[in-house]
């Protein structure tokens, strides 16, 4: 197992490097001058030229890249051109926020999606299955931003139960923190729950028809034991994989949801950084999320091997 993880981590390094090159050059292809975006309304030529010199924007592209990667390897991811805050510090501020949102969304998705999938698979063909499928399809189809605004209008404005937007750090005030995150996590989670429900349903269906389940029933075991102890255990394998990958996606930042609910996480940060042509920030975030996603992939593969001992023989 350790050698497996070690090998995968080794392969991850050139992957991350390639991603960094790709993102760097893709950003430079974007039309629009970062210095103009930086200078704002007071954009006369002297200040523009000064900013270009200062941030090495006149250097050839490959030199700019090497300068950046050199510093990055020393732990210096550069500085936000807009606010002069070090990128590493910005990432450090936003990571807990995105982690919290991702975790809460995933918990909601799992709490709704998996039981729904199991029930739907077990009652395949009945009205329960039919209803669950409709709800799942609605969850997948409803746009996040619409659901978000509707929920704000209903829950915050009309009912006054939860704050409309904003964020409270978890360790400062856990209860308030959960209150501010509840709606965005719910909006994100319901979309994911639909996906999860579909995956769980397929996995359970496949397993419920297998020989050993029929054997378990023939042995006279209680139905509940058959489903939970025997069937679900095996169905969990692909589900765990999906959940891990979904978590990786969530860590990339839920851009629309964060914009609507004003959650200061990665998603909002990267959108603003792209619009402001804040290169260092975009590169820092992409690097961070690429690493997170790769790690989640490795974790998913490792878990798969743990849950399915047959994989170890290969």
């Amino acid at each position: 197992m350790l050698s497996f993880i070690g090998r995968r981590l080794l392969i991850a390094i050139p992957t991350i490097l390639l991603i960094s090159i790709f993102v760097f050059f893709l950003q430079k292809l974007l039309p629009g001058d970062p210095v103009l975006a930086l200078a704002g309304e007071d954009r006369n030529p002297e200040i523009l030229e000064f900013l270009r010199e200062k941030y090495r924007l006149n250097d050839p592209l490959y030199m700019q890249y090497f300068h950046w990667i050199g510093k990055a390897l020393q732990g210096d991811l550069g500085m936000s051109l807009r606010t002069r805050q070090p990128v590493l510090e910005l990432l450090g501020q936003k990571l807990p926020v995105t982690l919290q949102l991702a975790t809460m969304a995933l918990i909601i998705a799992v709490m709704i999606g998996i039981p729904a999938g199991i029930i739907s698979a077990y009652h395949k063909g009945t009205w329960i299955d039919w209803l669950a499928n409709i709800v799942a399809l609605s969850g997948l189809s409803v746009p996040n931003f619409w659901l978000g605004i509707m929920m704000i209008l209903l829950v915050s404005v009309k009912l006054g139960w939860l704050p409309a937007s904003g964020y409270q750090p978890f360790f400062e005030d856990p209860l308030q923190s959960i209150r501010t995150m509840l709606m965005p996590a719910f909006v994100l989670g319901t979309g994911l729950a639909a996906t999860l429900m579909r995956h769980t349903r397929s996995a359970m269906l496949g397993v419920l028809q297998s020989d050993y389940v029929r054997t378990a029933r023939a042995k006279g075991l209680v139905e509940r034991t058959v489903v939970i102890k025997h069937a679900m255990r095996n169905a969990l394998i692909p589900i765990v994989t999906v959940v891990t990958l979904l978590f990786g996606e969530l860590l990339a930042g839920a851009v629309l949801t964060e914009q609507i609910f004003t959650i200061p996480g990665f998603g909002k940060l990267v959108v603003d950084a792209v619009f402001n042509r804040d290169y260092a920030v975009v590169q820092g975030i992409v690097l961070c999320t690429a690493i997170a996603f790769i790690l989640m992939n490795i974790l998913a593969d490792a878990l798969y091997r743990v849950l399915n001992p047959r994989m170890n023989d290969q």
Partner: protein, 501 residues
């Protein structure tokens, strides 16, 4: 059992509501400010924070008169090249350092000489300062400059603690130290900026809050929802289309002020080869386009009549507006005649506009109106940074762009219309206009200045490198418990005398 526990938990969540205390004023901003250093920052929204954080040498009234603030009085020398200012003697910075003439000198020096200073062009005419005594300073100019007092009413006149600027240098913005009613407490990027009441403020009796929290909430609907939910006390830049619903709501108030800026169509008349179009080369075609537009109807359709139609860089309510050139009524026949004269019937032009939906609507209305005069407009929507770049490089025919406006009229016109103007993206160049605009800068007499601007207007109405369309109105929505708020045309939120229950 499980159901009971769940419902108890849920109830606890909801009951622990965060009551909005009047001791803390919560303001919803439309964007997150950039760096909080008046010498380095460039955003409009940052200035809203400065209004509570950093006091200035002078202030403005809602009628745009310049009044004393940190400076108590000022006098120009006979030749207009030396400005003597008397300063308050009872002001301390947030770090306890005294405010005096040396501090003013240090501030002006920083605005002029800090390499990253964005204020250089605004204090360009200042050559040096002379500390006469503790509370008197002389400011020397290279040439008479009437705009300087208005500059001192904005970021160039904000006084920063010299001790702090020296210690923190370029990172002053991470923990700014000024002399305003509130001092800096905390900032979380894209989340909040928190300021606390400064006990030693020289007008502390006018401040009724222990703290102010600025919350950037980008989405317009969500910002209003926050106000309705009671999570903020007031918001800025309410969309014009939401005015009717807020007015109908008894628990909310609306305050408005026509802004100092404008929105219009900048035409490429001499910036690269793209200017070689009938529109760019012939002023008659530009006049025709302007005549084809019904500005009042535009205001009604896109802004429900809330904004102000315009045809000059200053709104009709401004003391600088040239009344002899009123907003023209739409005249399609005259437009067609002009086009025929210019030999440019049925032309096609390309208008670039930002992806902002409101800007898009404005250009669509103009497109419909111009079509009736025989001008076909092709709209190209571009993301804002791209739009700016192409405008600056001359890669456009017509660009829909505006200007947020400055207290001094020079700020709305000089850098756009003079041959060497720093933001002259149309590259319009007329030495006669240059002379008039430069002359207007040198006199401090309002009547003399207005005469110069009016003369320039007569030429510009003919040449029309910019077709002005409308002036935005700053709209604030407030909880009905907030009282004492005065709307200012510069869009700033000044908290002196404001209270909330």
């Amino acid at each position: 059992m499980h159901i009971t526990k769940l419902s108890v938990f849920t109830a606890a969540l909801m009951l622990s509501a965060s009551w909005v205390h009047a001791a803390d004023l919560r303001i919803g901003l439309a964007e997150d400010p950039d760096i909080l250093d008046p010498d380095q920052s460039r955003t409009f929204v940052g200035r809203i924070v400065y209004a509570s954080l950093c006091d200035k040498l002078v202030e403005i009234t809602p009628e745009l008169e310049i009044i004393p603030a940190l400076a108590t009085a000022w006098e120009w020398s006979a030749d207009g090249m030396t400005l003597t200012m008397n300063l308050r003697d009872d002001v301390t910075f947030h770090d306890g350092e005294p405010f005096n003439a040396q501090a003013v000198a240090a501030n002006i020096d920083r605005s002029k000489n800090l390499p990253e200073s964005r204020r250089k062009s605004q204090v360009k005419s200042i050559t040096g300062t002379n500390v006469v005594d503790e509370y008197t300073i002389e400011i020397m100019l290279a040439n008479p400059d009437a705009t300087i007092m208005a500059q001192f009413a904005d970021r160039a006149g904000m006084m920063l603690s010299p001790k702090a600027t020296e210690e923190m240098g370029l990172d002053f913005g991470s923990a700014p130290v000024c002399a305003g009613p509130f001092s800096f407490t905390e900032r979380v990027q894209q989340d909040r900026i928190v300021l606390s009441k400064f006990a030693d403020y020289y007008r502390a009796d006018e401040i009724n809050f222990d703290s102010v929290t600025f919350l950037p909430i980008a989405d317009d609907a969500v910002r209003l929802a926050n106000l309705r939910a009671g999570d903020v006390h007031m918001i800025e830049r309410l969309p014009a289309t939401s005015v009717a619903s807020v007015k109908a709501d008894d628990s909310l108030l609306i305050e408005q002020a026509v802004s100092l800026g404008y929105q219009g169509l900048t035409i490429n008349v001499n910036n690269s080869d793209r200017a070689k179009t009938p529109l760019g080369m012939d002023s008659k075609v530009r006049q025709a386009l302007s005549l084809a537009i019904d500005r009042e109807a535009l205001n009604q359709v896109v802004f429900e009549g809330v904004f102000a139609a315009g045809n000059q860089p200053f709104p009709p309510t401004s003391p600088w507006y040239d009344a002899s050139n009123p907003i023209p009524a739409r005249d399609v026949a005259a437009a067609k005649a002009l086009l025929a004269e210019a030999g440019a019937e049925n032309i096609e032009i390309e208008v670039q506009v930002s992806t902002n939906p409101v800007a898009g609507q404005v250009v669509q209305v103009v497109q419909a109106m111009a079509a009736e005069a025989g001008i076909k407009i092709n709209i190209v929507a571009k993301e804002f940074a791209t739009l700016l770049k192409e405008q600056s490089a001359g890669a456009y025919e017509v660009s829909q762009i505006g200007w947020s406006g400055r207290v001094d009229p020079d700020g709305n016109i000089h850098q756009f219309m003079t041959c060497e103007g720093g933001i002259n993206d149309s590259k319009y160049c007329n030495p006669a206009v240059d002379d008039l605009l430069n002359k207007a800068r040198t006199s401090t007499d309002i009547a003399t200045r207005k005469a110069s601007y009016d003369s320039a207007r007569t030429i510009l109405v003919e040449d029309m490198p910019i077709i002005y369309l409308y002036h935005q109105t700053w709209i604030w929505a407030l909880d009905d418990g907030v009282s004492g708020f005065t709307p200012y045309p510069d869009g700033m939120i000044r908290l002196h005398g404001v209270s909330a229950e």
